[in-house]
Amino acid sequence: MTTDYKSLTKQGLWDNNPALVQLLGLCPLLAVSNTFINGLGLGIATTMVLVGSNISVSFVRHWVPKEIRIPIFVMMIASFVTNTQLLMNAFTYDLYLVLGIFIPLIVTNCTIIGRAEAFASKNPIIPSFVDGLMQGIGFSVVLVLLGAIREILGQGTLFYGADQLLGSWAKQLTIQIYQVDQNFLFAILPPGAFFALGLLIALKNLIDHRAKQKASKVSVEVVGAESKA
């Protein structure tokens, strides 16, 4: 069986995007996407866990009894999350403090157990790795986009707190797009996340709809040309 990596990539990033299409892992998605950097931090952490869990689940897939696969998968995921948490504690301590409970909560992110169950437990290691990576990147891109939108609307900055992820030199990365006396709290609070995510989903559906229309138009023209000939 040959695996179509191109389609795996497209599935993860667009057609079956965990955040925009599967609507999985919404809790961390909505809770920590209040700045670009927070979104990026959690996105990277989730991707790391997803890749690790996909590879290892795929590796042991022949030896895991069907009946108890879920607890085994969860235990493997939990160990990867613990590793990630310790790594963040060691290298990005400030971000670790900001993200707080949402790092251990990656264990309960349905995207990860979902990919383990639906893909990694049935496929060889390399495709599982690609699937995990692409799903993770798809999730991270949405997190980062949401974070950027909410940060710009909410406090008028971009890349605020970049030093928490990249070290103290990154403090100057923060861009003040506009200056306000009163922050637009709505965008920073959870309801703003729901609205922004809704708008992103609407935008994706619009793009898909347009692409479909275009495709059907083209095919009609082709058919028309053929019938003329």
Binding site: D181, Q182, F184, L185, F186, A187, L189, P191, F195
Partner: protein
């Protein structure tokens, strides 16, 4: 005995209804203008313009006929209600953001007029209240007791640039002679009660003198007059206002009876804040309210009950917007349980 609303032939189109509502807000708007100055007018103008513009833009975007959509004036009513709810001399962008959000998200995302589950004006108002708590709670004192009354030019400057020609910010106009910031009567009562004063001690405060309180009592009376006009023209029914005002009276009466020192009196509740505007103009929105007669009484009573509870025990001084939104959520349920029985049928 489900009555279909208005029997009056002249007022059966949406346009006619909306025009009557706009007309009925006039006394209240004029009294507010008298007590709070030019800011009221700026808010009303800005909100109306933004409401119409957003409505037109969205209708165009949705590929609807925007001329007929605009001429029903429902967007204008939403704009006017937000304009009346905003603190005078709040910066212009407050009005713009709230109205745009109300029309775009609360109304058109759900499908436009007739499909919105929440009252658009109140969604816009609550968005502003949680987003900009400082701007949204900085109410001017009634100008007849204000230490620093604000004139037209200063009002315009404050509205547009948040600073007047002498370099004073809005805070300057909120202060009384002692340099303390004055707030609305409800705010004053809430702060005072939380600091351990009794209602009787608080009565000495300048803003709380008068029959009920300064300025606000007349604003509420004016909206009551406008509301009664709507009732006589059969634009609205009595169910919701009576339910709401009755529940406010009963709930606050009970609380006052338990301990008059710690609870705001029924009269103050009825003639302060947004009570009358809410009872006659906001809660009666036919789209987002309950529809059966019994249901509407329950709907109104629920709002009235929550208003008193939130005003007394909640974090905000006034509560009409929150109460209306919460009951909007409950409206389908209320309708479900108050369906009148079809004549001649039996319980299964």
């Amino acid at each position: 005995m489900l009555k279909s609303s208005p029997f009056n032939q002249a007022s059966n189109s949406v346009t006619q209804l909306m025009l009557q509502v706009i007309l009925a807000t006039l006394p209240g708007a004029l009294i507010m203008f008298y007590f709070f100055g030019w800011g009221v007018l700026f808010n009303l103008l800005t909100c109306s313009l933004v409401a119409m513009a957003s409505e037109a833009a969205i209708l165009k975007l949705r590929g609807r006929d925007f001329k007929s959509g605009l001429s029903d004036y429902s967007a204008l009513v939403t704009g006017i209600l937000i304009g009346l709810a905003l603190p005078p001399l709040a910066p212009w962008w407050v009005a713009v953001i709230g109205t745009f959000f109300a029309i775009t998200f609360a109304k058109h995302v759900y499908g436009g007029l007739g499909y919105n589950p929440f009252n658009p004006a109140m969604v816009g108002y609550v968005l502003l209240l949680i987003s900009f708590p400082v701007a949204m709670t900085s109410w001017l004192p009634p100008q007849n007791i204000a230490t620093n009354a604000v004139n037209f030019l200063d009002s315009l400057n404050l509205f547009l640039f948040e600073i007047d020609s002498q370099g004073n910010k809005l805070n300057f106009y909120l202060q009384n002679a002692d340099g303390f910031t004055m707030a609305t009567p409800l705010d004053e009562l809430k702060t005072g009660l939380s600091m351990g004063f009794t209602t009787a001690e608080l009565q000495d405060k300048l803003i709380l003198t008068g029959w009920v309180n300064q300025g606000w009592q007349w604003v509420n009376i004016a909206f009551l007059v406008g509301g009664l006009y709507l009732l006589t023209r059969k634009v609205i029914h009595w169910y919701i206002p009576v339910g709401m005002l009755g529940a406010i009276f009963l709930t606050s009466g009970l609380l006052t009876w338990i301990d008059p020192d710690l609870h705001i009196s029924p009269m103050t509740h009825l003639f302060s804040g947004a009570t009358m505007l809410g009872a006659f103009f906001i809660a009666t929105d036919p789209v987002s309210a309950a529809t059966t007669p019994k249901g509407r009484i329950i709907f109104g009573a629920g709002i009235g009950f929550l208003v008193v509870i939130i005003r007394n025990f909640g974090g905000y001084p006034d509560a009409v917007a929150f109460a209306v939104l919460l009951l909007n959520m409950a409206a389908p349920l209320i309708d479900h349980f108050t369906q009148p029985k079809v004549y001649g049928t039996r319980d299964a």
